[in-house]
């Protein structure tokens, strides 16, 4: 997969995907927690499918359990894509 994935690209994809799952677009900030956004484990499993399709990055169950905020998710995806 491309090795030039930027944090901005990932943020956009993550925000778009999360917005489709329910939370208002304006609430999806880096420091927003998934709990605040009412994003649950199944939502994150769905998000990980989008991320895999777009960036070729596979998030495992352990990965998903470890991330609590939008920013943490973005950082993890960027680090795995690099």
């Amino acid at each position: 997969m491309a090795t030039t994935v930027t944090a901005e690209q990932v943020e956009t994809v993550v925000a778009d995907a999360l917005a489709e799952l329910g939370p208002d677009r304006e609430l999806i900030k880096r420091d927003a927690t998934f709990e605040e956004l009412d994003v649950d484990s199944l939502d994150l499993a769905e998000l990980s499918q989008v991320v895999e399709e777009k960036f070729g990055v596979r998030l495992k169950g352990d990965d998903i359990a470890s991330i609590k905020t939008v920013g943490q998710a973005v950082d993890l995806i960027v680090s795995k894509a690099g």
Binding site: L42, A45, E46, Q49
Partner: protein, 244 residues
Amino acid sequence: MATRETCALVTGGSRGIGAAIARALAADGWPVAVNFRSGEAAAPAVVDEIVAAGGTAVPVAGDVSAPGAAEQLLAEAERQLAPIGALVNNAGVNADGLALQLEDDDWNRVIETNLSAAFRLTRQAVRGMIRRRHGRVVNIASVVGTTLTNPGQANYAASKAGLVAMTKAIAVEVARRGVTVNAVAPGFIATEMTAELTTGTLEAVPARRAGRPEEVAASVRFLASDEAAYITGATLVVDGGLSA
């Protein structure tokens, strides 16, 4: 309707209960991908029967227990027909023998085909279903291992009990996405596999007869329908009262 825009995949669909399920789903409007083991005769006759009756069906060859089979079978069904809207995990094997004499291979092969392959297919199929907010998974279990048991089937009973437990676990994970996961547990059904059953065996069945594959298929057709949207994590027993 979602069921017209997606297809159904029936594993082990060339004979017996699987073929009856393929026919029933096709009669209900589902385009059906009929999986059969590559080692068997060419395309299963049930595909031609469905097409001749005005339905849509295609053969999808492959052993469900082979590495990578889940991805390959689902991709092939989707390539030929449509996204998977219903998955029927029907493929199953048995390798009977008293536990004292069961080889590791007999144990592993039955667990692998009946349980692990069903898990991998379900995991893969549900990925698309949760995105589409609609889906049906029906696992063909058995009364063996769930409501009663036979000597000589430790592997088979464990695999089918596992299938029922897996059905419930995945059902609760995906219920809020409009995806249902259920099991059907047949009793004695008249197929090639049970041709050697004696009338003495059937005396234990309150209905005093073996079930027909079509009677199992009708339950699957219902669970795959939109009408069954609120049924999930359930096991529907189709056994003529055997386990009542």
